[in-house]
Symmetry: D4
Subunit: 256 residues, 8 copies
């Protein structure tokens, strides 16, 4: 409990067993540990080897370069999502070594090799070719967050046999990220085949009454198949982060 | 059971008591027996000791009694959600032994004691007093699905000290179900305090521009705090099922 | 009848009993007598033995009685949809012989036995117990419109085996009416099993983000399974009428 | 093919060359090979001479070329919908022989001549000049699916006389596809003139409160004219597929 | 009256009975007396013999009685719209002489006989029996505002012949108020038959995707038939007021 | 023309040159020739000297040229609305003499001088500079439909004095078209100043929660100022047509 | 700055000038002071004499009684909003001394007299009689929060003279809360008359396209009149709290 | 000025140099000169040294130049918001001296130095880098309206420490403008830290279910943190104007 920790620190200071600067260092973190998601989030990143993730959309190449340099200066890996090919080129001029992944629209600078952890494999499935950018954002992020990742893409009209072909693997996965646009029915189908958590990612793929992914989102939220939870439309990154946390449930962090 | 039936058919073929064409005709239909999420779901229930869950809203007391008797006949536990107090009384006349949980609006007949499993505790938090029915639906379901469950309710304007007071427990939980109406900000706050999966449950609590829970749902889907996934408005049951699957990630099922 | 009136007028002109200008004045208005869909629709009813269908919601018992008496006076069968049990009792006091079908919320007076026609069976499926009123409205209407009708209800969580059990029958049907609420995925599943037209009927069954059936409606409209067309939420009657027309495609009407 | 594989397995079991448990392991997975709508759909295509249909929007020219080559390799006709003129040119470089239909925004390679089948003519009507791309997508697809097709376009402000001029033909059609934007009233008008199934296709033509076709969609769903069913906004392909199935109701497939 | 007050003040200033600063203080406020639409509206009412109109919904019987007494004290006619039968009874206890019109849900006390004015007849049409309350609100208000009014109701499925039967009258009308729910197509049909202004009134009659009248409203706004303008859902009163102003275009007011 | 054709048929029957059955066959189809609003609409145009109006958006330059030539061949004036400057240039190459009005985004060829008719002046007001294109579409159309038109533009933040300056003129107008975006309050203000019909035209001017003109549309529909009717967002043409019909109420057409 | 404060406290402890328990008391608040709105909010209440405010809707009489007793035990005033008359009676049985304000639907127990503070008067205006409950909630809350409050109600169709009559007072007010339903235009009008902050409160008063207050909300958000800010539909309490904070801008709190 | 004009007229009447009827004619129109919010708004601007603010979006460079010259001719400062860089260059050619602020997308010509007034500092906070344009529009406008302004930007994932670092300053501010997109939770967090009015500005930053800022807007409107009021999406200017009025509450204007 927080109070107990404060009492201990104060007790040590009062007893001369801890210097004020050392106590400050501990206490300075207290507010933040309790305060914001952001701060803790960034701390968590540092402690866990998860690279900083920057949302590239709506930021200029200059802004991304500046933020990127700040991230790299803190000796963590860099990952920029929603990064168009043109902007990636512009950012690369400033951030030497940036690797661009066109399918995932992600730019990365991996300074420290990512170690795999977690119970098992995070499997990413998607319904159609047009859903691949979102699926790949999820898959690449999940890898960079330290998961073993498997991909089963294009499990739609022409590719359902790939679902069957990978059925054993699908059932062995720890967590499933299922990406689909249009009516968004794939997560229901997959949830019916496995006893594992399914994170559904609606995409903006579709037209007319798909309303930019809203139909898929609503379909997934109303799914009568159990065990499905949903993230925002096109939010591959968010699905990857949730899958990472799920894949580590019951595993103690080092040094804690 | 499917496997048994396949075995029988194959046995007959091997024994020359059934021709291949006759076997084909039978086996060609088998896929459908195992096709739907629903069927598998109910199988999963049987194998795992998770009681049948019946959605009580929009079903008459007679319908619920009939379905309930069928469930009980299969020697599994019975759980009816969204069950109003009046309807519960009517159902109880037919289903002797039905226990009614008014806070959760759930009726249960537990024939076989539920054994706890999973990595750790599923913690259910809610923002306000009005969110309790949804939170309690989640908590009670999670218990009946075999999880140890902890509750931290009414963590809103007047109760944030309860959040702090339980901070250690919150951090020790395996999965968090966070229930909130209005602008639905509580999951973001909780996700900032822990490194565990957070399942956000928007409720229809609110008025005006809350639009029956839509504002809370949208807020949770757009949360910039990582690791949050979302279920349907007021869907405590769905959150409990997802939490159960998450709490068991990496744990092998018996007999598999 | 229009044709008869035209014939009379022409007869009078030919016989010199009516001047051309007088005939013009009469005939100029004739177009409108046959103008609207409604009128033609009611003519079609008379010619085809399809009973008048009255939408009971929002009409008082008195209004329904008056309309019903007018219908019966024209010696056609009477069918009132969306008729609550209480209102049915009140209507019955005026319309002796009204038969009430509580599952379908329909009241009927069948004066002339309905003859079956059409290529084959109209099959009505529904996902859950709560969808039955809409499914039964579709099934009963389809019967009263002269179709052979088969029902496969409650093909949801607990009943998918009924889908399998009836697979041969489903495949032999001429047209399928598939009724579902929540995420409305059942029509997609059924459309994948058959090569027959599927009429999807979203229902208002669900809660939260189902938004009164809108999620099911959107899911069905965005279905990637081919051959599905959709009617309004809860519109069992409309599905029955469309199925009737489809079931008669290629069959000539008598007397034409 | 599934049936062949089942036969092989059974043959081996009968011949004592495979044990029952080994056969079970293989057969247990078979369901999934025939599971999804997609797979069956593609099988159906092969058996019925309906060409593969690829949705071109959101796919790159390279992706389309690759998919196209796979389709052609299976000796079926190729049809790519929602294909812009520029992308068509790029695809043609890889897929020699691709014929581009600019009005329908469709690209085709017809390797095997399409034989006409079905009860009668599928008639496609549209309200205005701006609706033609959607109408033409429906008409061309219906032709490629093996229907005789008739077109009555621009039946709006300046062209209602074409509706009258074709009234006999309209009444003789088996199925009607009626395409309209703005308030989407044309299907109601047409449904009032005929006793045939009417498939209504709302288009995104309009402005302001038409909300990208939503007003037309809602108008069609709420039509009080009977026998109308609706597909997604701008979904000419879906209407064509539904019309094909309707046009074949009561006609037995060869070899079944 | 404003002008009279200005004259008095100026008279006093000219007569030296009021100083300029005192006059300024009075006159500075005058703008506001004539500022708002509301005030002018009520003045207009007095000058033109149009009775005060009170919106009864959401007001208690006591509030209505008090407001009504104030209106009657000013020697004008009283009209209360959206007045339920029960509330009408309660109001009548305080406002002796209140006449209740159940079809229109309107209560009136007509102290001064309403004189007819305007170019011609205001004709009110409605599509179905359920639309009558809105149509009758429009018709009764239009009468009380001094118009000759004609009614053509229930011009839907069973009653289109009444439209034809009244075609001459419809064409002779000065203004048409067309009331319809569901897809709201009637105004388009009527606008095609006449060269007169058509005021379309969507009603909340319908279900499912009619979304409380929104589909009808959108259909009317997107109508491709010219000359249609639209008022709020169920707003019979507003249509009557607009029709009154239209019916008087080009007619000079007395005393102006 | 319909009447002429009826006369011919009747003449032949009277003269014994046509049998009654043959005449019936012809006359039975007549309704449809006069059926649609569109047809009548175009007839009305011819009779009243209102030029054909073509909606230019979503039509190619070629389509517009072809339609335009057809219109000109019928010796009526031509008006193309929603015509961008670039497309206008392209159309002009085919349709010599096309005059482009950039403010109104309208192209016209006036072959026959438009004669003014109607009770008085149609006045067009708009709130801001950005609303001018819609206002000018209304004003120019109203002129081409034979009305005297007055304009009071930019009656917003910097220009309310123009409203005052033109108050006498505003009050003398017969009909008012009031164009406004954002919250759309101007029609309410204007309706408070006059006793004339006010046609409110919401525009898509605004941002954020204006939702493409929806906020203005809703504001106008819910206006508590009486006598306001509304057309579609940005629909200047529709407002002009309605204003024309209103301005002619009570005026007999020639030759009727 | 936080760190500075921590350093000071630690310095004092290290120097023996402060005991550990005293330091704990200070530091214990630090997390919370930075953490949640809720905690600080409740502290603010205590320090400033603002009574606890409990949202009564969706809470049972028992829950309200329990919470109320807890509040009263902390010797602060009690205010329960959204409290229906029936529930108020039930609560009063447990909470003796509860005073019920039916117009505002508020129950209060004022133990400590509220002292007025703030620059000037908070003026509450509303458009119609039906808006009074929301306006009165705002006014009563503002009084209980320590403001002098003035009311100008029913400033709609029949009451604009009350606006004029109170113009001087309106201009002298410090803050204006303007409550309106339907199109929500009143805040724009008021903002044009004063140079003071205007808090706009949309109400759910209206029908049809008012969509439960959404039209009023959108109108207020899109208002082109400057200085308007908006709260949730029907949120009188929120407006009162914001007005209180605004009325105290520049006034130092005691003991700070 | 209105008052001066009234005085002149009255002086003339008193002096016998003007007749009462002539004066009436002049005075009758006066109301309108002071009628609209706009006019008063512009007067207020002149009296208070607040520069004219022109909304640049949807206006051409020529229109902006013309309006700008008119503003400058009245010797007030000029501020054009929503001004793109390209358009700014075009405007500058006509309006020499225009200074362009790219971050705020604002162009200004400050002829008269702005004097600071108000109780204290207006502080502008924003959540992310992408929100800066809106935040900077608010900040720059607030400065130009005569406030001392402080900025705390990018208080999101990577920058929450800046919030803490500036906590003392934040608490000392008079008014807070809090700008955020996505789920819009920052205003709730800030409102929990201060006892000052918080103006929440939702931005269109986000994707998918953020629906162009609607999710943020709804979140802010439903915030359970007190004292928050909301302006339109991306409306930095409106927030600045409201903050200016709030910052001056209780301060008398000169010469009043």
């Amino acid at each position: 409990m927080t109070e107990k920790r404060i009492r201990e620190v104060l007790g040590k200071v009062a007893a001369g067993r801890m210097t004020a600067p050392a106590a400050i260092r501990i206490l300075r973190e207290l507010p933040f540990e309790d305060l914001g998601f952001a701060k803790i989030d960034s701390h968590r990143s540092l402690r866990r080897g998860v690279p900083e993730v920057i949302f590239g959309e709506g930021k200029s190449a200059e802004q991304l370069s500046t933020i990127g340099q700040r991230v790299l200066a803190s000796h963590t890996n860099l990952i920029i999502t929603r990064l168009g090919a043109d902007k990636a080129r512009a950012v690369r001029r400033k951030l030497r070594g940036l690797k661009y992944h066109p399918d995932a629209r992600i730019g990365t600078i991996v300074k420290e090799r990512v170690k795999s952890s977690g119970h098992g494999v995070v499997m990413v499935l998607c319904a159609g070719t047009s859903d691949i950018p979102v699926a790949e954002e999820a898959a690449l992020c999940a890898e960079l967050f330290g998961n073993r990742v498997a991909r089963v893409y294009d499990v739609g009209v022409a590719g359902i046999h790939r679902l069957t072909a990978n059925l054993e693997a699908i059932r062995r996965a720890s967590v499933l990220i299922v990406v689909a646009g249009m009516e968004g029915a794939l997560p229901s189908v997959v949830a019916g085949l496995v006893d594992k958590p399914v994170i559904a990612v609606p995409t903006s793929v579709g037209y007319g009454a798909s309303m930019g992914g809203l139909a898929a989102l609503l379909g997934m939220l109303n799914s009568c198949a159990g065990g499905i939870t949903v993230v925002n439309i096109d939010n591959g990154f968010g699905a990857a982060l949730a899958a990472t946390l799920i894949n580590r449930v019951g595993i103690e962090r080092d040094g804690r």
